[in-house]
Symmetry: C2
Subunit: 502 residues, 2 copies
């Protein structure tokens, strides 16, 4: 978090005004990384799966969220300190005080639990008052006056249900078909205290996969059938067992550990996506939510969780079997027919939905934490090369003798070839390497006196700190090959004997 | 607009619930186009200018927007019909009824104007009531209770001022430097009635260029010095003159038609960007806002306007000279020192700001309207090839004899090479070409019986409807070359004699 703050990955929002809990800014490097995560997600879901992407407003009129069940069910149990007046989410104070999970309990059971365990105000030690419901949506009004109530969307999913008629026409009635949306989601948390993990405004990437409930097959299931999944079943959690079922996607479907083949497919795809971001497969598990934990619309939910040092296991994606809940509710509320005519079966079908829903901010944090390497002499981010915000640093060895001018020309040349290069001429060369390491820049190019003589520069490798020399005319090609892992580092140029300090 | 609705570019939001004015969804093709516009903007401002991109929340606490002046000045003059109760923006009803512009008038002058010109309710003809101020920000509260008031940001700019200290450290004190943000902006319009042109929630791309007021130079000004600009000066508008000053960017700066060199540079860059989207240069002008029209923070504003058939001249970007207004206000309100130490001048500098601020939704509409070609026999979108949502359509000539299987293999092969291909086998080949034309797909590949014999397919060119034959093994390379304009169409394969109907 120190590097994240200092080097422009993540900053507390509204910092000069004291900050507000649950809001973070992405700085220059964080924004590049975030955009890379989003782009990779698009590669998987829009390009790979062939899903349609849409883009809808975040301000959502009340009738939509009444129909979707969020006005009645998107609630947090809340309590206030009788002494200092601070407000808390009951589940948070209960877990902090007892390590136990009260989600799924009734309000009355929660009050009993709090009394039994003598849970007090974490701020002042005062007594906590009664438990009541707080709707966790941000509320606003559209236009003048208070007539038209609206909320900031708690998920991007609803637009994909509301637009279903137009979308299935776009898909020309073919089933299954998928729709995605990437954008902001909002949750008006009561008193968030977990940094980037518990945000009031966050970026989501959600896919709704519409299918005939009689035919929950994925055409490319065989591609993922042998992918190993680590599943923590709801029943085992309820029995207090930490046991993980290690099964292939195929076995998970066959043994009915997951509701259908589509769910099995998207669990496997989620694992691949997370690994592709740079998260080690050993740090990934899928936890099945217990019935009490599930959202009102879901018949089965799997949380993809990543192990972290700072926050323990962190949920980074949720895969829900939403059945026909949403389409049926919107059909009823709006009076529109939201079935689709199946050309194969010659009948109308009310589609069911499997929803892989990803956060973007939390995986970003996990990527940074898992990339961090602290060695005796240096600290660096071992980011996957395709995730590094800066691809190459360009440094003049010293700030005179024409080296800065030459280095700037090299830098401009690399940018012109589409490489994300950064120029840095301040401080010793060792400090500049350290700065580049700290933000995960895979390669650094240094222009020295030999450059002026023979037109060669050094390239330094982040992970090994080894160096090679290559001619400037080949530099952009060599760097592109290195970034794409098409050539090994030591084969890409002439080895340089290591100097002290660099 | 018919094609836009029917083919998945733009849809009214919440349509099954009757829709809400000022909200639109982007459908599958619209979202691709929107993402391409955003990506091109990044190419200009992040990659080309080397600016830093950040990403901050849309929910903004009141103290920030109090300091920025938006709580006091982001107002719309409003009036209500005494008979039917409908609410209107005064400037809109006045313009609709009289063709005249009342912006910049005091509330009292507006009332007099409305009486003199007998402006009545456009819905029922009833009398309109007094003019009063409506704050056009969406209001909400953070956390439980009503204590912490917040608004949805009216512009993305404020985060870049609030984060200034961290940003200038990231820039290592170098001036000028620029910061951008791409994201949602909100304006709670009173009663928007201009479709996609007057949105309550929209996507913006804004750049804040921080500079020493004694040194408003752009290092690459010479690159744009000879760019021709068509300027409509505020003075000429006030004198009722339609005259456009046609000058180069260099002349505009020298003759002091624009406030400084940075403004001249970004006017020229804006023109280039719009042309690069596919808007003809003859449809672009820059209108200088009159003092009454300018936002409270601006000392000089230029609106980039595009001529459209449906909405007349449409503002697609605004370039404002914000001086040190925002940084000074935030420094005062927060108590933080927001100056920067200039290494060159050995003194503290309070930066001034030139802000190129672009809408994304309006240019998207303009791109579609300007691409539309209606000929006797067909309608097509002559989109620039790099803006087309679908790059290539893949069709089996008929739906039997193994042609669909072969066509699907070709389709998958093209997707595998990174081409945005779409497969279509429904309806006659003529209808499929017409559908592809209608959404601006530059090339269509057809698999016919000859394909089975000799492994060649036809490629059809959208603009000329001419066809060539090429071997499947060369297909993706040929299409890439064509899309990048590296080869002329008729040189890319063997000419095919035109058949009727295609």
């Amino acid at each position: 978090m120190d590097i994240a703050l200092r080097r422009g990955f993540i900053w507390p929002s509204f910092e000069i005004y004291g900050g507000v809990g649950g809001f973070y800014d992405f700085g220059p490097l964080g924004t590049i990384l975030k955009n890379k995560i989003i782009q990779k997600w698009r590669d998987y879901y829009v390009f790979g799966e062939g899903f349609f992407e849409i883009d809808s407003p975040s301000v959502t009129p009340e009738e939509v969220l009444k129909a979707s069940g969020h006005v009645d069910h998107f609630l947090d149990a809340m309590t206030e300190c009788q002494k200092c007046g601070a407000a808390f989410r009951v589940a948070d104070v209960a877990r902090e005080a007892t390590g136990k999970d009260v989600e799924g309990m009734s309000r009355h059971e929660m009050e009993q639990f709090m009394q039994e365990h003598r849970v007090r105000c974490p701020d002042c030690g005062g007594e906590l008052g009664p438990v009541f419901d707080f709707n966790a949506m941000f509320r606003t009004t559209i236009g003048p006056g208070a007539k038209r109530v609206a909320y900031l969307r708690p998920e991007t999913a609803q637009a994909m249900f509301i637009d279903f008629k137009r979308l299935q026409r776009h898909a020309r009635g073919k089933l299954p078909f998928g729709v995605v949306q990437i954008g902001k989601g909002y949750r008006n948390e009561i008193s968030p205290r977990q940094g980037i993990i518990r945000l009031r405004e966050f970026t989501m990437a959600e896919a709704e996969v519409f299918f005939d409930p009689d035919d929950p097959h994925h055409p490319k299931f065989s591609d993922v059938a042998s992918e190993e999944l680590r599943l923590w079943l709801a029943g085992d959690q309820e029995r207090g067992k930490k046991l993980l079922n290690e099964v292939t996607a195929e076995q998970a479907v066959k043994k009915k550990l997951v509701c259908n083949e589509l769910m099995g497919y998207y669990l496997a795809l989620t694992k691949r996506f997370l690994i592709d971001l740079g998260i080690p497969s050993g740090a990934i598990r899928f936890r099945q939510q217990t019935p009490g934990q599930r959202a009102h619309y879901s018949a089965e939910t799997w949380d993809a969780e990543v192990s972290t040092e700072r926050f323990g296991w962190v949920e980074v994606a949720g895969l829900a079997y939403r059945t026909d809940y949403d389409l049926s509710r919107h059909a009823k509320s709006s009076g529109e027919d939201l079935t689709v005519f199946s050309a194969d079966k010659k009948r109308k079908v009310m589609c069911h939905v499997v929803e892989p829903s990803y956060g973007i901010d939390r995986p970003l944090y996990c990527v940074l934490e898992h990339a961090l390497v602290q060695e005796k002499n240096r600290t660096y981010l071992r980011l996957k090369k395709d995730m590094a915000p800066i691809e190459v640093g360009v440094f003049p060895l010293i700030s005179r003798d024409g080296l800065p001018e030459k280095a700037l020309a090299v830098y401009e040349g690399l940018r012109g070839k589409g490489l994300m290069a950064e120029y840095d001429d301040s401080g010793s060369i060792g400090r500049r390497y350290a700065r580049a390491d700290e933000v995960g820049t895979p390669y650094c190019v240094t222009i020295d006196h030999q450059t002026l003589r023979d037109g060669t520069v050094t390239i330094r490798d982040r992970d090994t700190t080894r160096q090679i020399r290559v001619g400037i005319e080949k530099l952009s090609n060599v760097l592109c090959s290195l970034l794409r892992d098409e050539v090994s580092f030591m084969d890409a140029g002439e080895a340089v004997k290591k100097r002290g300090g660099s």
